[in-house]
């Protein structure tokens, strides 16, 4: 565990050229949480949403948190994705499908992060059959992009304070490109979670169902969104 942290840190410190991250759905719960955490790190942020006032407020908020933060907002998901090195789709599962064909041409070769959990409205289970996942579906829709499933097992409420009983919550990653997984792990760490690479994009099935389970348990046991996953090991 220690060793991974050191290596990731060194890599993130070494790059001087700022990466641009587009957050599509930046004014939603997850988009805002991710944006505020990333604003503390050395990234250039492009906040995309549909409401100018909310976007301006978010940008002001970010500047208050870190005067040196490099953040801009815009209304067009295509322009945001075109300018980005990494695209975070902080939107519901259904919206991923709507956005994919729009951004496909400008997302070629880029990391596209899927954070969605395709849960039914009544929280009883997944909208998808066992043999697929939102992550895999997005990879099919964007065959020339590198889809990484991550941030789907972390609640928006816990960004900025991802420590539970002394343990930093794990944040799992799945995707088909090793290089993209490594780069995204640096980003996950910058946000404050402990990155754990699980395997190829098929692992999204497990990751999405893990969070559906955690939501169900949260409701049953009144975790009040203060809950996360942690692998205990020696």
């Amino acid at each position: 565990m220690g060793a991974t942290f050191v290596v990731l840190n060194q890599r993130s410190n070494m790059m001087k050229t700022k990466q641009t991250i587009a957050i599509i759905g930046a004014t939603g719960s997850m988009g805002t949480a991710i944006a505020k955490c990333l604003a503390q790190a050395s990234y250039r942020l492009l906040l995309m949403g549909s409401d100018e006032n909310k976007l301006q407020n978010l940008q002001d908020n970010i500047k208050q948190l870190n005067a040196a933060a490099d953040a801009d907002w815009l209304l067009c998901p295509i322009d945001a994705s075109w300018e980005a090195d990494i695209i975070i789709l902080a939107v519901p599962y259904i919206a991923e499908k709507e956005l994919a064909p729009k951004i496909a041409a400008v997302a070629t070769g880029k990391i596209v992060i899927s954070i969605s959990n395709p849960i039914t409205a009544d929280f009883t289970g997944s909208l998808l059959p066992d043999h697929t996942s939102a992550g895999e579906e997005l990879q099919q829709l964007l065959p020339h992009s590198k889809i990484i499933k991550t941030f789907n097992t972390t609640f928006a409420a816990n960004f900025g304070q991802p420590v539970f009983a002394g343990n930093t919550a794990d944040c799992f990653l799945a995707g088909n490109s090793d290089e993209a997984l490594q780069q995204t792990a640096v980003l996950v760490e910058a946000v404050g979670f402990k990155p754990i690479i699980t395997g190829d994009i098929k692992k999204s099935r497990t990751l999405e169902n893990m969070q559906i389970l955690l939501m169900q348990l949260g409701i049953k046991n009144h975790y009040n969104w203060r809950a996360g996953w942690k692998i205990l090991h020696d």
Binding site: M14, M15, K16, T17, K18, D79, W82, E83, D85, A105, V106, T108, G109, K110, H144
Partner: protein, 193 residues
């Protein structure tokens, strides 16, 4: 998004429609805003960039903090720190954006895969390399031998409207002369014309 690249390729080789379609997924399309960095000195140059729109430049900063412009890349030009790109060693250049730009980036892995998938592109790349060698040799010869006026006329031949598009001090830096000398040369040429 690929119009200028296809035009550029078309001047040197012929691609079928099918080959054109095969080509596009190897490139990362990226928009940049004026003053943004594409590459900062010390980082590894992971891409070569083709400029579809706007203008990029590469430059080196010396010990005293002076900028020395290596290359201007307006639309239709390729730009990278080739040494860093090919050897994987840290770049000694910065590349930044002089005019809002639309760029196509290609990594070394994607370049290799592209050349495998579309063998005729090998010829295009060879011609590019030859041209780059020629212009590099010209640039050295120019710096060693030519006077300010010859240098200025040389750059106008390669980049006809460069004087209107970049600040004087950058153009002077590219030519390896002072801004004052550049003004003098321009006034002189105007008088003669």
């Amino acid at each position: 998004m690929f119009e200028v690249l296809f035009e550029h390729i078309d001047k040197k080789i012929t691609l079928t429609k099918e080959e054109e379609n095969k080509l596009t997924p190897f490139f990362i399309p990226k928009k940049y805003r004026k003053r943004q960095y594409v590459l900062q000195q010390g980082d590894i140059c992971k891409y070569i960039a083709f400029v579809e729109k706007g203008m990029l430049r590469s430059f080196q900063v010396d010990d005293k903090g002076n900028e020395h412009v290596i290359q201007f890349a307006p639309e239709g030009w390729w730009i990278a720190d080739n040494y860093s790109f090919l050897t994987g060693s840290p770049s000694s250049y910065d590349i930044d954006v002089l005019e809002d730009a639309e760029v196509l980036l290609i990594t070394q892995t994607a370049l290799e895969e592209m050349l495998q998938a579309i063998p005729v592109m090998e010829r295009y790349m060879r011609i590019l390399m030859q041209n780059s060698l020629i212009s590099m040799q010209n640039r050295i010869a120019c710096t060693l031998g030519s006077n300010a006026e010859e240098r200025y006329q040389g750059v106008l031949k390669a980049l006809p409207n460069i004087a209107q598009r970049v600040p004087q001090h950058m153009l002077a830096s590219f030519l390896g002369i002072t801004p004052e000398t550049l003004s003098r040369v321009r006034r002189q040429l105007l008088k003669n014309s």
